[in-house]
């Protein structure tokens, strides 16, 4: 596009001031390209004048330069445009913008687009997008107007464009009816823009999952370098009408830093530490929180490891034992250990006491699916690694990443006190579930 400033002497610039201002008049998102892992553009959408897809060449250049797919810089300047991209599900969403706009604005929006696709199609893959290209187009049309976000709330979008289901697809092909909402969308006009109107259920249910993730770095000797708990409360609310819910905690002081779904009344939280809200219909994230770092974080597993290479030998020793630590009496499940072994390692010949392990000789990634930890018989993985003949002893230390789950436990000790509903007469079924997971849980060796 020719709309770019040309160097002009400042005196001329001043005279042209009125003229030059319009050069900036193409803010926000101009176009969107979807690029798959093999570097093909498989969808493009323009909200303003068409931008040639050759602009993506700059992106491909950056893609080539990057060693890993996630190392492509999120913002790439080109002579006339800026490309802002996010990578999700092995698809690059490349937005083209022409002038100053907060980069996070675009990034956040692109992620919102991906979330919406996922919400609509279950998965957000190239195949799913191609199969539903018309719905995708309709969604993108509603989500941006002239490049500025219009409707990004899933409840509103679903009123405008119904998500495809197998049944509906069949019906549509037979009857020729459409995916486009048959009712006029009123959500955008209401005071509760995140909730559809006229919601009806025969079974009224509200489920809340308190999920906490432990991010930790454990050093060689087993002491904790840093550990924090990040939690979310995900809700699945299927309630008739316009219910008004309040949710209170036994120990709200634990929550150090919170961010809310827009439905939560902030003042009420400030004053009483109670979550009061009219929920969106369906699945949504009510709250995410951070547990203050002053509290000591319980580390539910420990790792004993001995990974060593001897000078001059082409063999290395590998020993790993896992055990439960502070688990509050709950079982540690779905344990998965993975480690990136040094490049010099050719192969690993290991013997797990339980579960199975795999070693990819190309990527050097070792992963061990442990399953449940039995405190009586600790799982271990022992054996040898063979090195390239003649290669010197690697001096990198692999780190061990651990994933695990603990059901029915919020490791911070957070407890929901009660959940009340106002505004509707029926008695809903209420359920609360707790779970603790490993977030970025890393052990250095």
């Amino acid at each position: 596009m020719p709309n770019h400033p040309v160097p002009v002497p400042s005196s001329v610039l001043a005279a042209l001031k009125n003229k030059t201002i319009h050069l900036s008049a193409a803010k926000m998102i101009h176009s969107l390209f979807l690029v798959n892992a093999s570097g093909d553009i498989f969808l493009e959408k323009h909200w303003k004048s068409v931008v040639s897809r050759s602009v993506c060449d700059y992106f491909f250049e950056a893609l080539e330069r990057a060693t890993e797919p996630e190392n492509v810089p999120p913002v790439i300047p080109t002579p006339h445009h800026y490309l802002i991209n996010v990578l999700r599900h092995r698809i690059y969403f490349v937005a083209v913008i022409q002038s100053e706009v907060p980069p996070l604005f675009v990034i956040e929006f692109l992620h919102r687009v991906v979330d919406t696709f996922q919400d609509y199609f279950g998965v957000c893959t190239e195949a799913a997008i191609k199969d539903n290209v018309v719905v995708v187009y309709e969604l993108l049309e509603e989500m941006l107007d002239n490049g500025f976000p219009l409707a990004t709330e899933s409840n509103i979008l679903k009123e405008l464009i119904k998500p495809p289901t197998i049944l509906r697809t069949v019906v549509n092909t037979i009857t020729g009816s459409t995916n486009v909402g048959e009712q006029l969308p009123t959500g955008q006009l209401s005071v509760v823009p995140w909730r559809r109107t006229g919601v009806k259920y025969t079974n009224n249910e509200a489920y809340f999952d308190v999920i906490e993730e432990i991010d930790a770095i454990i050093d060689k000797s087993g002491s904790t370098i840093t550990a924090e708990i990040q939690g979310v409360i995900d809700a699945c609310v299927k309630l008739t009408g316009m219910p008004d819910l309040t949710l209170s905690f036994m120990n709200p002081r634990l929550l150090d830093d919170v961010s809310f779904h827009p439905c939560v009344r902030f003042k009420r939280w400030e004053a009483e530490r109670i979550l009061s809200f009219i929920p969106p219909d369906g699945n949504f994230r009510l709250l995410s929180y951070h547990v203050s770092s002053q509290n000591l974080v319980a580390i539910p597993v420990y790792v004993k490891h001995n990974i060593s290479f001897r000078e001059g030998s082409s063999q290395g020793r590998f020993e790993l034992t896992l055990g439960p630590k502070q688990t509050m009496g709950k079982a540690v499940e779905s344990v998965l250990v993975s480690s990136q072994l040094p490049r010099g390692v050719l192969n690993a010949n290991l013997n797990p006491s339980q579960g199975t392990y795999t070693f990819d000789p190309v990527t050097k990634l070792l992963s061990w699916d442990v399953g449940k930890i039995n405190p009586q018989k600790l799982p271990s993985l022992k054996g040898s690694m063979s090195l390239q003949a003649g290669a010197s002893k690697p001096d990198e230390n692999p780190t061990i990443n651990i994933q695990f789950k603990i059901q029915q436990l919020a490791i911070s000790g957070l407890k929901v006190n009660r959940l009340d509903m106002y505004g509707e007469k029926y008695k809903p079924f209420k359920g609360i579930k707790y779970m603790t997971k490993a977030g970025k849980f890393q052990v250095r060796t």
Binding site: L104, I107, Y137, R265
Partner: protein
């Protein structure tokens, strides 16, 4: 099949209802497109003449039939399913980037298709190709023009949206007209669409700028949250430099902010940041001098905070004390809760606002939120870390408590690792350096070599910045020289070189060690660094240096260019200091260089030879050769690449790229002295109606200064029960009947649909009137304004704090509070005489049963004709109600003579909700949009129960249906009588006899569904009391409790 095809007809029924009569006519007019006589929907059809033209154009033009005959046929068929299929295939083509422009004529005539999905896809197509096919696109315009007049707001909005997206220059005047009209539409949704259309038109035709600015100015005055974000976006694109347009709307924008949708929030916050930089004083003005000093002196030493404390009194004494403008404070306070937003862009926007505008002591609060964002997607992390890196240079203390959050995991992408390293380096100081260095040591063992290199550089920077650890770092780096990985060694050499330059005398052994390394290291940059070191400090290693040169001369031809240059350099330096040993070697090297392939090296050799080798012809310069080569070189400063990046607005694209992006609005410097703050004052029109002095005074305290911004749509309206007090302030102020603008805006806007914004239409006129008023009041205001400004701002802040986001149900509390003190029937304003052009309308809830329909609330309306001519045909039209609500209109008033008043009664069934009833009040000349919203207490009629009945009914309404609340009675609530008076004033209830004198009971029924409402007030010793409300309708119960509490505790 035909029957099935009519399915989407349902979709249209809603529209059909509104369209009413016009439909039949339209159908008759367009036979071509309606073979299956289904009802019209959305837009009316293209006129037949146009269509014929289109068809002949289609077949006659010929050029477009080539590849898509089948699609063309499908589009021409009269089956919606075929059309839909065709459109889907076409859209898929567009999505894949295939050219589908030749189908334009076939597609465009389906713009009036009845099937909604076909129509939507046609829009998609139109917007994509209209620019290329301008003439044909024009044919669709009339359809949209008709849509603009549709009674349904969504259709009007959608028509405007598509019309403005068609980039065809010839329709600019039509767009302009449409935008202007939509900007005064009664529906906020349409007005929002108008705001969106402004930048579209501006980019199509910048000549329209001045007219568009007028529209922006008008929309900026809009009070709905829906419009605010969009119009500021338009402002930013069209006229970001017209900061003067913001003045009057500044406080309103601040107050609306929390309820604006997320994307609008970002735009508004960024704009307000710029605004604040032009209007307020630097809150850190007293520290800025100091900061500069401390930064120069101790890049990384003393705790800044401590220093400030010591020095502050001194500087403070010199300067005049700084007082923050209350508006500045308002902005900071209202943006703070948004740090809790789930949207990273909003959090970042607030963070940059605080960074650029807040006093130093308050900036710290943003750190926590920014650290939280680092849990998000890696792209978000990337941007946030860039900004944290910049911030951490200026305000290191802020992020120090979160040091560990920046520790690096092996799973982070490299670009994130490098940024975290940058932040860690910026945060390093004497106290934490040992921890940080330990952390760095583990990084050096990482498998990611780029990251290892960056870590070594980071160590180097720590060493230069913090003198105490320089030796430790140097030793650590020297150890790395024996690392197996050559890249690690090379990077260490480069960093060591820089460190050694600081104190070369003490480190000749390291230089010797490095000289040995030259045999093994192959990385050119490292070799070059070593050679430079040896050359520079050859006097410290007099024996080794010539030997190194000897080796290098041997391998010269095989070296990389940068190494060759350094060899020449070394040779020259040695020649000057130790010519005896190195003369021949130097000659040899220079000779080799003379015939090198690289012209740079040849040039250098020639130049150096002339300079150092004395010949007859050698110029004057050679005398100074030694000075030239062996001058003392200043030690390099290793500084962050993020230093001084904060002259770009943080969070902006320009900041991220460290280059000015197109359209970047420079963040202005703080003004030396603050511009006049009174420009933000919004006048309160017409005080004259206030009867008594006392009355006025009361209002002054209660009423937030900028009355206009008060009553916007539902969401911000009310607060939770916990904070009634200040809420009542704002609420009653705007609702109190005697004040014009307050009550005017309240009744207009309180319904969440806000259909009734008549102010827009009359704005022009009102402006004129206001101007007149202004002149007369100017003096008085000027005197008062300064003082008032502060009072009001303080008050307004407290109101805002209590704004809740969306508690629409509690709006009524606002009303009933005003009822309480008087005890008599309260009049509300429906239409102010200025807006009504002389017709003033007030209403009250007469509490009489409405005889024609017992489940309607009787509303008594009083019309006063203040004009000099008679008003005719007063009646109601076009009620817009929530589902279930009904209206019983009053009989039309034929004539209302000048100066006369007349009272009528109408009935409204509110369905036991406090939703507003919106309708148009029509005279023979004008229509006014008005709305009536009932306080919860007016939704009931008295019920007469005995004591026993009362207890029995109360027993049935326990548990969830009972609401208990403790309260302290207000000073004047001394006896039973006052309590009864207040409760009955708040709600239309009757007293129930009671044996105890400590208890008062009241009973009523809701008007429309007849649910019982039971109220008990039990008084206790010492002014305490307990309020019990039993009602099956919990919402009514809750609201009633609040209102009664309010009434009793006053």
């Amino acid at each position: 099949m035909q029957k099935l095809l009519q399915l989407p007809v349902n979709a249209v029924n809603i529209v059909k209802g509104v369209q009413g009569v016009t439909q039949g006519q339209e159908e008759a007019l367009s036979p071509v497109l309606t073979p299956d006589s289904g009802p019209q929907n959305w837009y009316s059809a293209v006129q037949p003449e146009e269509l014929r033209h289109l068809r002949s154009g289609g077949t006659g033009g010929g050029g477009w039939g080539r590849g898509h005959d089948d699609l063309k046929e499908m589009l021409d068929s009269n089956k919606d399913s075929l059309k839909l299929e065709a459109m889907k295939r076409i859209v898929a083509m567009i999505a894949r980037g295939k050219n589908a422009s030749d189908l334009f004529p076939a597609v465009v005539k389906n713009v009036a298709c009845k099937n909604i999905e076909v129509k939507k896809l046609v829009y998609v197509y139109l917007v994509r190709y209209a620019e290329e096919q301008q003439d044909l696109a024009l044919l669709s315009i009339s359809t949209f023009q008709r849509g603009l007049k549709d009674p349904n707001q969504l259709i009007r909005a959608s028509a405007l949206r598509v019309l403005s997206s068609i980039r065809v220059t010839i329709i600019v005047p039509i767009m302009m007209l449409a935008i202007k009209e939509a900007a005064s539409d009664m529906s906020p949704y349409v007005r929002k669409t108008a705001a969106h259309a402004i930048p579209k038109l501006h980019s199509l035709d910048p000549e329209q700028k001045d007219q568009l600015i007028e529209v922006i100015e008008k929309l900026l005055a809009d009070k709905t949250t829906l419009v605010a974000g969009s119009v500021v976006m338009a402002f930013e694109e069209v006229c970001p430099d017209r900061i003067d347009l913001i003045h009057k709307n500044y406080r309103k924008l601040c107050n609306l902010l929390i309820d604006v949708e997320e994307w609008g929030q970002v735009v508004i916050i960024n704009m307000l940041t710029r605004y604040a930089r032009t209007q307020f004083l630097n809150p850190n003005i007293n520290e800025s001098l100091l900061e500069e000093n401390s930064e120069k002196a101790f890049y990384a030493s003393d705790d800044e905070e401590e220093e400030d404390k010591k020095a502050e009194p001194a500087t403070l004494a010199k300067r005049k004390p700084y007082v923050m403008d209350p508006d500045h404070r308002l902005l900071l306070r209202n943006t703070k809760p948004l740090l809790q937003s789930r949207n990273a862009a909003v959090v970042m926007a607030v963070a940059q606002l605080y960074f650029h505008l807040a006093p130093k002591a308050e900036v710290g609060i943003i750190a926590k939120a920014l650290v939280r964002l680092m849990r998000s997607h890696s792209e978000v992390q990337y941007v946030v870390l860039q900004n944290v890196a910049t911030m951490s240079i200026k305000r290191r203390g802020m992020f120090e408590p979160y040091l560990k959050s920046f520790y690096i995991r092996s799973t982070d992408p490299t670009q994130i690792k490098v940024l975290k390293l940058e932040v860690l380096t910026n945060l390093a100081n004497e106290t934490n350096i040992s921890t940080i260095l330990r952390e760095f040591q583990t990084y050096i063992k990482s498998m990611d070599k780029d990251f290892v290199a960056a870590s070594i550089q980071a160590i180097g920077r720590c060493a230069t910045n913090i003198g105490e650890v320089r030796d430790t770092c140097l030793n650590g780096l020297v150890q790395l020289l024996s690392n197996r990985d050559e890249l690690v060694v090379a990077e260490s050499v480069v960093v060591i070189k820089k460190l050694l330059q600081m104190q070369p005398e003490q480190h000749s052994d390291i230089i010797k060690h490095m000289a040995k390394l030259i045999d093994n290291i192959q990385v050119p940059m490292a070799r070059a660094s070593i050679l430079w070191l040896i050359g520079e400090y050859c006097e410290h290693v007099p024996k080794i240096a010539p030997d190194v040169l000897r080796k290098m001369a041997k391998s010269f031809t095989n070296e990389e260019d940068i190494v060759k240059l350094q060899i020449i350099n070394l040779a020259a330096k040695l020649y000057l200091t130790n010519s005896k040993q190195s003369k021949l070697l130097t000659q040899y090297v220079l000779n080799l260089a003379k015939y090198d392939q690289n012209y740079d090296i040849r040039d250098r050799a020639r130049f150096i030879r002339q300079l150092i080798v004395p010949t007859d012809k050698s110029g004057a310069l050679s005398k100074y050769a030694k000075k030239l080569f062996l001058a003392l070189k200043p030690a390099p400063v290793l500084e962050s690449p993020f230093k001084d990046r904060d002259h770009f607005q943080l969070g902006s694209l320009s900041h991220l790229l460290n280059a000015k992006a197109a359209g970047y609005q420079e963040l202005p410097n703080w003004p030396e002295s603050a511009p006049d703050p009174s420009v933000r004052n919004v006048e309160i029109p017409d005080w004259s109606k206030c009867s008594s002095r006392k009355d006025r005074k009361e209002k002054k305290v209660e009423k937030p200064f900028y009355s206009d911004s008060e009553g916007e749509s539902g969401p911000t309206e009310s607060a939770d029960s916990g904070n009634c007090e200040s809420d009542s302030g704002s609420g009653s102020a705007s609702a109190s009947g005697s004040d014009e603008s307050g009550s005017g805006s309240e009744s207009e806007e309180s319904g969440e649909e806000t259909e009734s914004d008549e102010e827009e239409e009359d704005e022009e006129e009102e402006k004129k009137k206001r101007k007149k008023l202004d002149k007369t009041k100017a003096k008085k205001q000027a005197e008062e304004s300064a003082e008032r400004c502060t009072i009001h701002t303080i008050h307004q802040i407290s109101c805002i704090i209590n704004f809740d986001q969306f508690d629409m149900n509690k709006i009524t509390s606002v009303f009933s509070q005003t009822l309480a003190p008087s005890g008599s029937i309260k009049m509300y304003e429906l239409l102010h005489r200025i807006k009504g052009e002389g017709l003033a309308v007030e209403y009250c809830f007469s509490r009489q049963p409405f005889s024609p329909e017992p489940n309607m609330v009787a509303v008594q309306i009083q019309f006063t004709n203040n004009t000099n001519s008679e008003t005719k045909n007063l009646h109601i039209e076009d009620p817009r109600l929530q589902s279930g609500m009904r209206i019983r209109e009053f009989a039309e008033i034929d004539v209302l003579a000048a100066g006369e008043s007349v009272t009528v009664v109408m009935g409204i069934d509110f369905c036991d909700s406090t939703q507003a009833a919106n309708f148009q009040l029509c005279t023979h000349t004008r229509k006014f949009f008005v709305s009536i919203q009932p306080p919860v207490g007016e939704l009931m009629t008295p019920a007469f129960l005995t004591e026993n009945d009362f207890k029995k009914e109360q027993g049935k309404l326990m548990g969830m249906n009972e609401i208990l609340e403790k309260l302290t009675l207000g000073e004047k609530c001394v006896n039973e009588h006052v309590i009864v008076e207040r409760v009955t004033a708040t709600a239309n209830l009757s007293r129930v006899p009671c044996g105890s004198d400590k208890e008062c009971r009241f009973a009523g029924k809701t008007v429309s569904s007849g649910c019982l409402v039971l109220v008990t007030v039990t008084t206790k010793e010492g002014g305490g009391a307990q309020l019990t409300v039993n009602c099956e309708k919990m919402l009514i119960g809750t609201m009633l409790v609040k209102d009664i509490l309010q009434a009793l505790s006053q």
